[in-house]
């Protein structure tokens, strides 16, 4: 019986791994989706939307399972609240990726050529910020002392994202031939994507506290 319980616990560790993979995957899909949109490859873009919906769905199922197991088996009592919060926050990042792609699909904004490269750059930076958060979270489960190796990268990418977002907004508002409503719509997109990096930084800030709380 003891071995069974031990195995169950290891399964939970694996489930957390899979969940983090999903968050990471969502970032890659988001990047590919935006790239397809900017390249006007609508078919590929729509495929990415389908993929990210599927990933988000799997992520939600995993999260619910993990939350239930943590409570039913009364695992990690001292960090349970923190781990649940971390799960929710990472899931929210995943949702934001999906939401952003949906926003592109619904509004189909007319992006200007001059912004395309910067927009691609902004997307990669945001994905890097989330990726660093995922790596820190993985370290938190596996070996909390190595969280510091990854977590410092999150604020770095967040500040890069801020800079890029400002640059993009400047380009948009200085662009001639665009109506104010078009400019505002594009600015809204830039801010929407940039916000993902901000949220990633919030998650990493909380993670920092969880690590301190768990330190022996």
């Amino acid at each position: 019986m003891e071995f069974r319980i031990l195995k169950k616990r290891l399964d939970i560790g694996r489930q957390f791994d899979v969940f983090l993979d999903k968050v990471s995957e969502a970032g890659l899909l988001f990047k590919a989706g935006v790239d397809a949109f900017l390249s006007n490859d609508i078919e590929s873009f729509e495929n990415k939307i389908d993929d990210i919906i599927e990933t988000e769905h799997e992520g939600d199922t995993l999260r619910r399972n993990l939350e239930e197991t943590l409570y039913i088996q009364t695992l990690i009592p001292e960090s349970r609240g923190d781990v649940l919060e971390l799960l929710e926050n990472l899931d929210a990042l995943l949702d934001r990726f999906k939401g952003a792609l949906w926003k592109f699909n619904i509004e189909r904004p007319q992006l200007i050529e001059a912004c395309n490269d910067d927009f691609r750059e902004l997307t990669s930076i945001v994905v890097e910020a989330v990726e660093a958060t995922v790596r820190s979270s993985r370290a938190f489960f596996k070996d909390s002392s190595s969280v510091t190796d990854h977590i410092h990268k999150v604020p770095y990418w967040e500040s890069q994202s801020d800079k890029m977002a400002s640059k993009l907004q400047q380009t948009i508002f200085r662009q001639e031939g665009l109506s104010l409503s078009e400019k505002l719509q594009l600015r809204d997109f830039v801010k929407h994507v940039d916000k993902i990096a901000d949220r990633a930084e919030d998650v990493s800030d909380k993670l920092r506290i969880y690590v301190i709380k768990r330190s022996l």
Partner: protein
């Protein structure tokens, strides 16, 4: 009547379970790593096993403090100790049953005019300080080591969680086992000589001696205490002093079990002695003190900020109050039992320097001019005799103890009738030993030491051996049973 007197022992066992034993799993339950039910069941089972399997190797330190020599007195001593532990349990303070017993015995000593052995008392009181200190130091070192190890092996959060959980249960079970083994004698020890049970053999596979049956009943009482009333003390230990992480909880339980083992392991003592190393005194230590010490140790390691000093102050004062309450309750109840219910709560032990005692004292080389003035004079109890001895000069403390032992009057007669009533209980007497006793049939003795010497003369089995602490302790234990058996009153 035996069952009636046994009831106070069972009450004491129950309080021991509700208080001392609950400490073992307190931190595990407090840190929510082990459910109360799991902890209580595991604790009960291992206490019972410890009591029945290893319970026989009991410590005699409490016996040295004062020998309660009448069953009604033993009843009151156990009852007052149990009552004081119960009141502390109700308040949620982790106290030590042995503290309460020490207090109750001192109450009896005052009432019966017996002397309290201050040397033994100070030894016990020192362990009340040494035990939590040692436990705190062990916890501190253990915690540091575990932190380094966990840092090195980079362990997964969930694996660490399950390992800590199993560790808590295993160390808790070990602690419960050693607690059962050490403390059962406190609960049931006084009833061994009057036990009506006979050995039971289970299909020839294994045998339960009458002592083991008695310990089993005591163990059941302790287990019932754990199951029914230990939750509050567990909460104080687990959460009251400071919030503990599961790893810290594991360290606390391990340090506690180690300390209990260090102070109680005869095997370890023999091992140290065999290798020419200094030994640790075998004294009954309290699990409450070990646990509280360990929690403080970890709290201090973390800078002491997390410790709730108010709760700790409460625990500290309960440790001082418990023996005092037990002594007072014991004294007052003895007074009532003796004067209102006319029960014999103690057997008066007179003292006199008889001519035989004089010869023994002379042989020891103690100056005769001093003791000569007391020759033939009878004193009603140890207190009066000791007072008279104190008036004499030129006596070393060790001489006084020797004279005191030599002058104790305890008339015994080895009669055929009494020889036939000896139950063959392999835990305390063998067939061969009875055969030696039979050779003394018809003889009378005024002093205990006379019987000792007569037995030793016939057979080397009855002689204390050099460097044989364990053997000598068993022999002493056996002798006290024999004194009880052949004692008669000539008044």
């Amino acid at each position: 009547m035996f069952l009636f007197f046994l009831s106070s022992g069972l009450f004491l066992g129950w309080s021991l379970g509700a208080n001392d034993a609950s400490n073992v799993f307190g931190t595990a339950v407090g840190s929510k790593m082990v459910r109360f039910r799991t902890a209580a069941i595991c604790c009960s089972i291992f206490i019972l096993l410890g009591a029945v399997i290893s319970g026989a190797g009991a410590s005699h330190t409490l016996g040295k403090l004062g020998s309660v020599n009448a069953i009604a007195g033993a009843f009151i001593v156990a009852l007052s100790a149990a009552a004081s532990v119960y009141s502390m349990t109700k308040l949620g303070y982790p106290v030590s049953t042995s503290q309460a017993i020490v207090g109750a015995i001192i109450g009896w000593n005052f009432f019966s005019g017996s002397l309290t052995d201050y040397h033994t008392l100070s030894k016990i009181v020192i362990t009340w300080i040494a035990c939590p200190t040692l436990s705190g130091i062990i916890a501190l070192i253990l915690y540091k080591v575990i932190v380094i190890v966990i840092g090195r092996i980079k362990i997964d959060m969930f694996r660490l969680d399950s390992m800590t959980r199993y560790g808590l249960i295993v160390m808790g079970a070990f602690g419960a086992y050693s607690l059962g083994a050490n403390n059962i004698a406190n609960v049931m020890g006084v009833f061994i000589p009057v036990s009506p049970f006979a050995d039971i053999s289970f299909f020839g596979l294994f045998k339960l001696t009458s002592t083991q049956q008695l310990f089993f009943i005591g163990g059941v009482a302790i287990s019932v205490g754990v199951l029914t009333y230990s939750r509050k003390v567990m909460a104080t230990v687990g959460e009251g002093i400071m919030n503990l992480s599961p790893v810290a909880a594991l360290v606390v339980v391990s340090a506690h079990s180690l300390v209990l083992f260090l102070f109680a392991s005869q095997g370890l003592e023999a091992f140290l002695k065999h290798h020419g190393l200094p030994t640790i005194p075998l004294v009954p230590v309290s699990s409450s003190q070990a646990i509280v010490g360990a929690v403080i140790g970890i709290g201090l390691l973390k800078g002491g900020r997390g410790i709730r000093w108010r709760v700790l102050g409460g625990i500290g004062s309960s440790w001082i109050v418990t023996p005092i309450i037990a002594a007072m309750v014991s004294f007052i109840s003895l007074f009532f039992l003796q004067n209102v219910f006319e029960q014999k709560t103690y057997r008066p032990v007179p003292y006199a320097i008889t001519s035989e005692a004089m010869a023994r004292i002379q042989k020891q080389g103690i100056s005769l001019e001093e003791t000569g003035s007391m020759l033939g004079k009878e004193f009603p109890d140890a207190k009066h005799f000791y007072k008279a001895l104190s008036n004499l000069n030129n006596l070393k403390p060790s001489d006084r103890v020797f004279i005191l032992n030599s002058a104790e009057i305890d008339p015994m007669a080895v009669t055929f009738k009494k020889l036939k009533t000896i139950n063959l209980d392999s835990d305390w007497i063998t067939k061969q030993e009875i055969a030696v006793l039979e050779k003394l049939e018809g003889r009378k003795f005024q002093h205990k030491w006379q019987l000792d010497e007569a037995l030793a003369k016939i057979s080397p089995h009855w002689q204390p051996i050099e460097n044989g602490k364990k053997y000598n302790e068993r022999l002493q234990h056996k002798m006290s049973h024999i004194y009880d058996k052949f004692r008669y009153s000539d008044k």
